[in-house]
Amino acid sequence: MRKLDGVVTKHEQIAEKIFELTIQNENIDASFKPGQFLHLKVGAGMDPLLRRPISICDIDEKTNELKMIYRVEGRGTEVLSKTVYGEKLNVLAPLGNGFPLDEAEQGQTALLVGGGIGVPPLYYVSKELKKRGVNVVHVNGFQTGNSVFYEREFSELGPTFIATVDGTTGTKGFVTDVIEQENLDFDMVFTCGPIPMLKAIEQRYHGKKKVFLSLEQRMGCGIGACFACVCHVQEDPAGASYVKVCSDGPVFPSGEVVL
């Protein structure tokens, strides 16, 4: 966990409102794990004030580059989208715990389920699993065809299914529809996306498969100090026990956190 300046080496729009951004810094290396995230300072001034959490989408150890993919949502990502080649971006990284890749053994099959801007971190997960000889199957859900990205990149690693809510690309419906229709078989699930999607996956597969969920939560510090990002735990759903998404997560096994 450090504060570092990343130099922008690439920045381009890859789908509607979706940007791919690559930064470089000598400290970026394989110690940055799939599922971890950055806390990114946008703009130079005090407005926007807070950092933005963005997942690591890929690491290139050789060039010390880190790739992220983000959607323009509000003011922060809007300002971010104006960043140009050569500019410096200050980030805290790597943050959080990442996906437990060791839970997948060689020859097993991992199902990676992404929704919207939950898709990017799964790319790095998939690449690393593949390296370890794990079979990867991807199911990525989007609102509509225009916002689909990285279909080719995922396909190069393993079978890849797309669902869109309006059916403009891939299967019409949700990721869970695809999993059922395609009758997919797998040993574990790694997933990241909106809460309703995570809930659906947890409901279906908790107890049956190993399931790991990556959560989103509004953040202050990003490092565990401010208590902005806490969640109740299923063991003590109304009590004082908690986990912090930023430092205990963002990845949790199913059954741990109250979604």
Partner: protein
């Protein structure tokens, strides 16, 4: 000579910079970034008798040059703070200011009596101004009589000096300050957050699940400077200033307004090394201002000794 050293009731500070309560947890996270012993002091997170989860999320929302929070005093409770968090901090050479909260006067008394005996707690900060809890909190801080009452009761049991943290959500901050001074407060800390709200256009509901929250960050600095300017001229106890500090210049502005030390809150989230960075910048800024010792600046905007050279 240490040009940054400041002495306040109970506190020998090697420099006047400390993280503000609630913006630094109990220090562990920031210890990953730097040696906490460089700090003047640490104001740790509010402690209540029992552990508290706090409010539902979302608990933070961004505003122009500021943020709203409604954490709701989440903390592990007095026992755990006393037996785990504070002892962990003993490895650092830094005095701790324990922020205490409660929903009735007796709560404050219980926490104060015990926590003030921890070896590294050199002062208490009475949080009578938290806008994020339904009972107690801000209610104590907006009426001179109740503010004075809780101060007096805590003073009776505390083994260390007591600083009272004032709420800015009042018509007349001076009368509250005078009331707690008369009740025996050793110092003031000001300001806590301004009560604010943001509404989400999609859900049409307040962004914070709690509805309102506390506004902090650069946006509030002019309000805090104004209040410290007003209060410091009317009381004889020192003030630890806070609200929107992000750079060494802000620290000087607080001193000139009348503060004797400065706490940094929200800016820690934006930049985790902000406190040591400011500490490092201060001597150079004093040079530029031709000031020997930082304490010479206290109240400089209303004390008349100094005349600007032009």
């Amino acid at each position: 000579m240490n040009r940054l050293a400041v002495e306040l009731p109970g506190l020998k500070l090697k420099n006047p910079i400390m993280p503000a309560s609630g913006c630094f947890g109990f220090g562990k996270e920031y210890a990953n970034f730097y040696d906490l012993s460089v700090l003047g002091a640490i104001m740790v997170k509010a402690t209540t008798i029992e552990s508290r989860f706090g409010n539902p999320t979302p608990r933070v929302a961004e505003t122009a040059a500021g943020m709203l929070n409604a954490i709701g005093l989440q903390n592990p409770g007095l026992e755990k703070v006393y037996s785990e968090e504070l002892p962990w901090l003993e490895q650092y050479d830094v005095p701790i200011i324990a922020n205490i909260a409660g929903s009735k006067v007796e709560d404050y008394v219980v926490v104060a009596e015990k926590i003030s005996t921890a070896p590294n707690v050199h002062a208490l900060e009475l949080n009578i101004s938290c806008p994020n809890v339904k009972e107690g909190g801000i209610a104590f801080g907006t009426v001179p009589e109740t503010a004075a009452h809780v101060t007096k009761e805590v003073k009776k049991v505390s083994s260390v000096p007591v600083y009272v943290k004032l709420s800015p959500n009042v018509t007349d901050i001076v009368s509250i300050a005078k009331a707690v001074e008369a009740a025996g407060a050793d110092g003031l800390t000001m300001i806590n957050t301004l009560l604010g709200m943001r509404i989400d256009l999609k859900s049409r509901q307040p962004i914070l699940s709690n509805g309102m929250g506390g506004l902090s960050g650069p946006a509030v600095k002019p309000v805090s400077i104004r209040m410290i300017y007003q209060v410091s001229q009317e009381v004889n106890i020192p003030i630890i200033g806070m609200g929107g500090v992000t750079k060494a210049e802000d620290v000087i502005e607080y001193f000139l307004a009348g503060a004797s030390a400065v706490a940094v809150g929200t800016a820690n989230f934006v930049d985790p090394t902000i406190c040591p960075d400011i500490i490092e910048e201060l001597p150079g800024l004093l040079d530029k201002m031709k000031v020997g010792h930082i304490t010479e600046l206290i109240g400089g905007s209303w004390k008349t000794e100094w005349v600007a050279q032009s």
